[in-house]
Structures are given as C-alpha cells and as structure tokens.
Amino acid sequence: MANHDQNQSSIQFKDLTINQESREVSLKGQPIELTPKEFNLIVLLALHPKKVFTRELLLEQIWLLEDYRDIRTVDTHVKNLREKLRVAGLTYNAIKTVWGVGYKFNQPDSGS
C-alpha cells in the first residue's frame, strides 16, 4: 500500500521510505546505504508495485548502454539489495521473484 507524499518525491511503504530527491532509503528512520544501481533498482520497482519486471527490462532501464551487460548482474544486485534490507531489519522480502518471469516489488500486506 503505497502512500505517496504530496511532493511526489518520496515513496512510503509502512516503515520503508524511499526518497527520490535525496536518493535515500530508510527503514523506521534509519538510513540504508545503497549503491546507485541498487537505489535505481528499488525505485524503479517501487514506482510500479504491480508490475513484474523481466531481467532484460531491468537491465535495459538501469544499466542502460554500459559495456558490461550480463543478465546475471540483475540477480546479483537484487540479492545484495535484499540482504541490505534484511540486515537493516526489514521483516519481509521486498523484492519478490516471480518464478520464470522476473522481479516485482512486494508490499508488506501481500507479503505472505
């Protein structure tokens, strides 16, 4: 259940806040340090919480035309991102794998 702030720059999912302007993610007010790619990834997924992104699409949207493009890069970044969120204390898996398709943002209420 996304509560967009009035200024549209911040996305809120219960305890998780993603601020697009300051490029910061925080959980219960505690900031989580993410790499630029990880941040882009979570923003892209969080902005379309109902959409399933294939690995190819994510690669295209986030890695653009960089030299090094391997479909596995996406998996690795998702895994690292998940781990950072979990270490920060997130109790559910924010980025869900839709088996055989790709990745999707997981909202806390539908997280079971």
Binding site: D70, K79, W99, S112
Partner: protein, 464 residues
C-alpha cells in the same frame, strides 16, 4: 530361408571371391605348365634346325642326303625346301604346304618358328632356318618338325587333374562358407527370434550367447533391455495395484460415512458433525492423491516443462518456511533457519524447487511431535546444499533406501494418521533429479531425520 537373408548374402559373397581366386590360379598354373613343356621343345628344335642350316651350304649332294639318317637319330622330321617353297627333301612324308607368309618371313628374318597342326599327323612344332651357299646367298631352307603330341597329352592330363582339384577345392570352400555363414548368421537369427518374442510380450525370453565379440555384446544388451522392460512392467503392475488400493480406501470411507448420514445412524449432532468432518478430510485426501499422481505421471513421461533460471535458494526457502510456519506453530514446533551468507545461485525452476522443499518440510513437521525443524543452507565445493533436519520419530536404517519409492510407508498402520499420500518423497526425488540435483537422507530412530539436497551452483554473475 529368405533370399535376402544375411546367410545367403555372406555365403554368395565368399563364394564369388573364392571362384575368382580359383580361376585365376588355375589359369596361371595351366599357363606355367604349358610354357615349361613347350619351351623345352622349342629350344631343342630351334637348336637342331640352326645346326643343320650351318652344316649345309647347298641343296644337293652329301649334306642333304645326310638329312635322312640325322632325322632318324634325333627322332625328328626334317625337310628341306628351295626358295620357292618346293620340298627337296621330305623325310617325314608329311603333307605340309609352306604358306606365302612363311616364305616371306624366311626371306626377311632367315627363320620361321610356329606351332602347326598337320592333317592325320597331329601337332608339331616347326622351326625353319634359311640355308646359304658359300657366297652367302640364300638358296633354300631347312625345316625341323618336332611332334608335340606327347606334350599335349601330358598337358591334357595335367589340365584334367587341375580341374578335378579345382572342383574339390570348390566343394571344400562351399562347406567352409556354409559353416562360417551359419556361425555368423545363426546368432543374429536367434536374437531376432528372441526380440520378436519379447515384442509379443514374452519378456522372459533371453538370448543365449557366450561369445565375447560385438555380437556377444549385442546379445547382452538385448538381455539387459528385456530385463529392464520386465522390471518396468513389474513396477508398473505394482504401481497400479497400489494406486487402486490407495484410491479405494478414501472412497470406502466416503461411501461408508455418507451411508451412515443418509440413514441417520448417529445419536447426536456432534456425531453428525464428526462424520461430515471425516468425509471432508477424505475428500481432501483423495484430491491430493490425484494431484500427486498427475504430477508424478507428468514428470516420469518428461512432459513437465521446467522454467530453468538462476535461483536464489535463500528466497525459495524463505518463501517455503513462511508458508509452513503456521502449520508448524499449530504443532508447537519452531522452524529454525540457518543460512550461510552470500550463497551462490543455482539453476532451477523456482516453483518446482518450492514444491520440493514444501514436501520435505511438511514431512518433517508431520513426523515430529516435539522440538524443531531446522533448515540449513550452505555452500560446499561448488555445491549449494540444503538440509532439512527434524527431531522426529526417525526412519529405520533398513528402510532408508526404500523411502523414495512410490507408496512406500514406514508404518503402514499409522500412515493414515499422518495423512501423507505416499507419493511426496517420490515426487521430491524426481523433481530434484530433473533439475540436476541429488538428494540423500540420514536418520536415527527416535532422534530425527536429515534430508540433504545438493545442487551445483552457477558462478555469481556480475560484480558484487
């Protein structure tokens, strides 16, 4: 025997080769003998004729009259002709006309050698030599005739013997060919008959061959195949027997309790509800059994389509443990997780992997009354390993190899109480294996069981 059988093909091939060799050999032997005998005579005759020609220098007188006795001594016929080919001396009284060709040859070469046939007198080898006078002018020619009749007779005998020998050799070759072809084709025929029998359903048919060559190994392969099919048929029959038994039990319950309700054979509303509960449970059970059977059938036929992709097993196990958390807590068990950090991805189908671990963890919960279910995830030399450990009743060691068989249950009497379909572990094993993994089990009675699932990992892609 069929015309295009391997036996006919083989033997005719061998025989053709043999006949070619035999004829070539006979021809050469014949030629050798002929040359040997004839060249002997040729040499001798030519020698005599040239000697006489040297001794003589006129067609008349002493030298020529000597010809008669000389011919008698050397057992040859000697004739002298003038330049025109008219006979001056004819010791043999034979009718031999000098052809123009012979005269011409005599004029140019000074000699003439030929095998001739003379009417009523048989075969001769004739050697002519020109005679010269003292001034060196050719004046005529001397011809020596050697009979080759005896040689021809000998050669004919030799030829007869040769043909006889060839015929004998041919017969022996025919015999040997027959034996060889039989030896080569009879195992094939036996194998053909055996496989035909198998195809008709007599799977106990076997090929009885003991040779160590390729044909022998083919026979062994056929026997193995038959054994495998026989085995397959046996397990299929057992499987069908099991299936019908497993299906019949819930159906019996269903119809029995339905009848009880229909005839109102209960005393209290509580009893009524209890029976309805039983009917519902049995229906659920039946449904699950049918689902499992379909899954297994699809997998075994290879009709299941896998969506292979890089999989983070941590996520799979998290999803599964979240799903089963409630049923574990209902039994007062805790699901503990022990995940090593940064475990590599594996290649698999996420949905099917969830199915595998749901089955395993469900089993663990089902057979554990007290304690916990522990899920371990770690890496070990290029493998990602998942262990599902429980503190349940355990499995007797003698039954460990059988637990992955379809419908195998440890305690048949109590199986209904635990509520499994008997197909769970068979599904787990098949699913694991078609995704390239393996599964093993360790157990101690009364202490618990550990299922260990092993997959090879794929290198971590991208930067970390």
């Amino acid at each position: 025997m069929k015309f295009n059988s391997i036996f006919i093909k083989l033997s005719s091939m061998i025989m053709v080769i043999f006949i070619i060799v035999l004829f070539a050999l006979g021809f050469i032997i014949n030629k050798l003998f002929t040359n040997f005998y004839v060249s002997n005579v040729e040499e001798q005759t030519q020698q005599i004729s040239s000697q006489y020609a040297h001794m003589t220098n006129s067609l008349h007188g002493m030298n020529v009259t000597m010809v008669g006795p000389l011919a008698t001594i050397s057992n040859k016929k000697i004739m002298v002709a003038d330049l025109k080919g008219k006979w001056v001396v004819n010791t043999g009284k034979i009718h031999f006309l000098l052809s123009q060709k012979a005269l011409k040859k005599m004029k140019t070469d000074g000699k003439y050698n030929q095998l001739v046939t003379i009417k009523n007198n048989g075969h001769y080898y004739v050697s002519g030599q020109a005679i010269y006078n003292k001034q060196g002018q050719p004046i005529g020619s001397i011809f020596v005739f050697s009979s080759v009749e005896a040689i021809y007779k000998t050669l004919n005998k030799v030829r007869q013997l040769l043909i006889l020998a060839m015929f004998g050799a041919f017969l022996i070759a025919l015999g040997i060919t027959y034996i060889i072809s039989r030896r080569l084709s009879s195992p094939l025929i036996e194998m053909e008959q055996a496989t035909r029998k198998m195809a008709k359903g007599d799977l106990s048919a076997r090929v009885h061959l003991s040779s160590q060559d390729e044909i022998g190994s083919l026979a062994v392969a056929i026997n193995n195949l038959a054994f495998e099919i026989e085995n397959n048929r046996k397990t299929r029959q057992e499987f069908f027997a099991n299936v019908s038994h497993e299906l019949r039990t819930p159906v019996t319950y269903l119809s029995g309790y339905a009848k009880v309700l229909k005839e109102k054979m209960y005393d209290s509303p509580e009893e009524h509800d209890q029976y309805i509960g039983i009917i519902e449970n049995e229906a659920i059970r039946l449904n699950r059994l049918i689902d499992d059977l379909f899954d297994l059938a699809k997998m075994e036929e290879g009709r299941i389509s896998l969506n292979m992709e890089p999989i983070d097993l941590e996520e799979v196990l998290e999803n599964v443990s979240r799903k089963l958390d409630l049923s574990a807590r209902e039994k007062g068990l805790g699901i503990k997780r022990q995940f090593a950090p940064h475990v590599n991805f594996i290649r698999g189908d996420g949905e099917r992997l969830e199915q595998v671990f749901i089955n395993l963890i469900n089993n663990a919960i089902r057979y554990t009354e007290k304690g916990y279910v522990l899920i371990k995830l770690y890496e070990h030399s290029e493998h990602v390993i998942v262990e599902i450990e429980d503190t349940g009743i355990g499995i007797p060691e003698s039954e460990l190899p059988l637990i992955f068989d379809r419908f195998y249950r440890i305690e048949k009497s109590r199986s209904r109480e635990y509520g499994g379909t008997g197909l769970g572990l068979a599904i787990v094993k098949t699913l694991t294996e078609i995704q390239g993994g393996s599964i093993e089990v360790k157990s101690q009675i009364g202490k618990g069981t550990i299922f260990k699932v092993v997959f090879s990992f794929i290198d971590r892609g991208g930067d970390r």
